[in-house]
Structures are given as C-alpha cells and as structure tokens.
C-alpha cells in the first residue's frame, strides 16, 4: 500500500507530516522529492545501501549508421542532430522515449545507460527508508522517481514524501497511490496551490484528504474550501513556534505526548477514510 504526502505549495509541511506519521504508525518511509531529499535526516543513522540509477539514452553504431537523419527527425526533444559526418546526441535533452531506437531504418541505435542518480535505502527497528538522490545537472527527475517507487515492497505500507508543485515530478510521485494526504497552510498561496493539486488528484483518480498545517495563521478558511471541493479534512497541526524549532533541529515531534496524539489521530483519520 502506498500513501502519498503532497501539497501543491512548497514549505507547507510535507516532510514534517511524512516523518512523524510514518514513525508514529511504524510504517516504511520513502522520499520521492529526489531533487532535494531530506526525510532521511529524521530517520536516524545506520548503514545504507546505495545503488546507481541510470536512464536510457541512444548509443549509435557508427558502422551501421548511414546518416539518414531519421532519428533526429523523430526525436520530440531535439536530443539528436545530424551533423555532416555523424549523429550527435545531447544526453541532457533525451527523455528516454526510445523513438529513435525503434524507428532507425538501419537498426543502428541501441539504448545505453546514462547515470542520473542513486537509490539509497536503509532499515531501522523494522522500518525501511528509501530515497532517490538526483545528480546535480540532471534536468529530468521522473525516471529516478519511478525507480524509487518500484523499489517499494508491495506487501508493506509506505508513506511517500512527494515533491511540491503539480508538474511531472509530483504527478509521477502520486500516480497510482492508494491514498494521498494533502498538506496545506491557511494562506492564500497555500490554498491556491492546494486547489491545483486537488485538480491533479481528481484527474489521476487518487482518493485524498487534507491536513491543515500551521493552523491559526494566515486567515484563509481551508475547511470551507475543502467543503466546497468535496475534500475531507483529516486533521490539523497548530501554528506553534516550538513545533517549527524542534522540526528545524531534526527532531521528531511525536517525542512529546500532545503532538504524538495529533499524529496518532491523523493516522486514525487516514485509515478510516481509506476503509470507507
């Protein structure tokens, strides 16, 4: 079972909810925000396994290539150029769609691997953490997000800390999840981007509910907004300085009884929603 934690707006508290919820419920944790993974900071130290992840790029057999230029013509991302003497590949523009490989009349192209990052995993107290780490300069995170997702064990429930926004990275992270917990804040910015993210979830058909973080600031009525959109409110986390301070120090909030109760209640609400 996969439970996504997403938001729309960045900085609303996706990681805060992910790390505390997975810890209080004893669940596995995955960080799919591969451009800046940070959930591991709350997981504790331990030995980790690092596996390199590659994405497919074209490799051209120059002895078979007759420079017809069909590959450059079919590439939707302009990653291939037919120079007078050879085909040039811009691996950074390649999306790995495989069109050139399949449509080369001479079958002179095969897929080679371009290393784009790593899959890091570790285990502690029966819980597993896995996250992707994208290499600097890589523009397209989607293949690495897919790699992290497919490394999750199907028989176990995993809380997935997802990327912000509503672009390809977020879509790829939440796609196919059993449930999505949307974390927002009661500000105009938080409400606006939450609305966009809810559009995405509705299109993807992922059942979802909303957590209001920093409740008490901002003044936007998220409860009314959720009611008008038919989205369930799962719970709220108060806007308190000590919460921000402890989270910023890398501490889990559930170490304090009253905050532990907040996340226990939140997990209860998620389970009830998933069953109904």
């Amino acid at each position: 079972m996969r439970i996504a934690v997403a938001s729309g707006k960045g900085g609303t508290g996706k990681t805060l909810v992910s790390v505390n919820l997975s810890a209080v419920a004893g669940l596995d944790l995955a960080d799919l925000d591969v451009e800046e993974p940070n959930a591991f900071l709350y997981f504790g130290d331990g030995p980790s396994t690092i596996v390199p992840v590659s994405r497919p790029v074209p490799s051209i057999d120059r002895s078979a290539c007759d420079l017809c230029g069909e590959c450059a013509r079919v590439c939707a991302f302009n990653a291939l150029v037919r120079l007078p003497q050879r085909i040039r590949v811009h691996e950074e523009l390649c999306h790995g769609c495989g069109a050139c490989v399949r449509l080369c009349p001479r079958q002179a192209i095969e897929e080679a691997g371009h290393e784009m990052g790593a899959l890091v995993s570790m285990a502690q107290n029966g819980r597993r953490l896995v996250y992707g780490r994208l290499d600097v300069g890589e523009a397209n995170a989607v293949p690495l997000i897919k790699a992290v997702r497919s490394s999750l064990e199907p028989g176990r429930t995993t809380i997935m800390d997802c990327p912000p926004g509503t672009s390809c990275n977020m879509v790829e992270a939440v796609r196919g999840s059993d449930y999505a917990i949307m974390v927002t804040e009661p500000t105009p910015f938080g409400a606006h981007d939450l609305s966009l993210a809810l559009d995405v979830l509705e299109r993807l058909g992922v059942p979802h509910g909303v957590v209001i973080n920093k409740a008490g600031m901002g003044g936007v009525d998220i409860v009314a907004m959720c009611a008008s959109r038919g989205a369930a409110v799962l719970g709220s986390i108060p806007f308190r300085r000590d919460i921000a301070e402890r989270h910023a120090m890398g501490q889990l909030l559930i170490d304090r009884p009253e905050d532990r109760r907040t996340f226990r209640d939140l997990w209860g609400a998620v389970m009830r929603r998933m069953r109904s």
């Binding site: 991302f77 990653a79 150029v81 007078p84 040039r88 811009h90 523009l93």
Partner: protein
C-alpha cells in the same frame, strides 16, 4: 565557401530584408538566407519546440547547408552543434537584416566564439566539466 562570403543565415523578425533582426537564434521567427545575389526567407520550425529549440534550429542550418550564422544570442548546445558542423557564428549582432548582411560582407562584423552567455558562466561551466570528467 561560394558566392559573396558563403551562404549566410540571419535570424529575422519577418520576411522582409528591410526588417529587424531577431535577437534569439533558437526561437526567432525566421531566417533570412543569402548567397551572392540570391536571398530567401525560411520559417524557423524550431521556434515552438518545448525543449532544444536552439539545437533544432542548428539542425535547420545544417540541412540548409549554411556556412555562416549571424544572430543576437546563441546558447551553449546550439553553439557546439554549429561549431562541430563547421558553421561560423557571429553573436551579439543587431540591426536591419539588409544592413547586417552588408556589414558582414564588408568584413565589419566582429568574429565571436559562438556561445553568447556571460563569460563568467562559461568559465564556471568549463571548471565544472573539468572537475567531473
């Protein structure tokens, strides 16, 4: 090179030779291509590409057997493709297409390295590639 200093492509805002140049290489409206007495305008089919417009425009230059490109700005990938294809480029140029062509043919355009980005950025890119390879 044949004709009057080869086959020259100038990024342009319209089909008229009296019109202004377009600053962008990859996303200009069209290219004025001149060779000797002959002049034609081709539409820049790369301009709407979501990614790699510069590279696609460079392919257009190769396919049209251009010898020289004159434009305002040129990115690193397109610049590299032109260089590898043996196409000379002049960047940071502006003005009316006809005037620019005239200036080029009289040898009054200053040759440049291609990539038109800030020199510090280029230096940093070079340092980065030295570190990683």
């Amino acid at each position: 090179m044949t004709g009057d200093k080869g086959r020259v492509a100038i990024s342009a805002t319209g089909a008229s030779i009296e019109g202004e140049m377009d600053h962008h290489f990859g996303r200009c409206r069209c290219f004025a291509i001149a060779e000797g007495e002959h002049m034609l305008t081709i539409e820049n089919t790369a301009r709407d590409a979501s990614e790699g417009a510069g590279v696609k425009a460079a392919q257009l230059m190769i396919d049209n057997r251009v010898d020289v490109v004159i434009t305002g700005s040129l990115g690193p990938k397109a610049s590299q493709v032109l260089e590898e294809a043996g196409i000379r480029s002049f960047v940071g140029i502006s003005g009316k297409v006809a005037d620019v062509l005239e200036r080029y043919r009289k040898g009054r355009l200053e040759a440049s390295s291609g990539d038109s980005r800030d020199r510090d950025v280029q230096r940093k890119d070079r340092d980065d590639s030295l570190r990683t390879h």
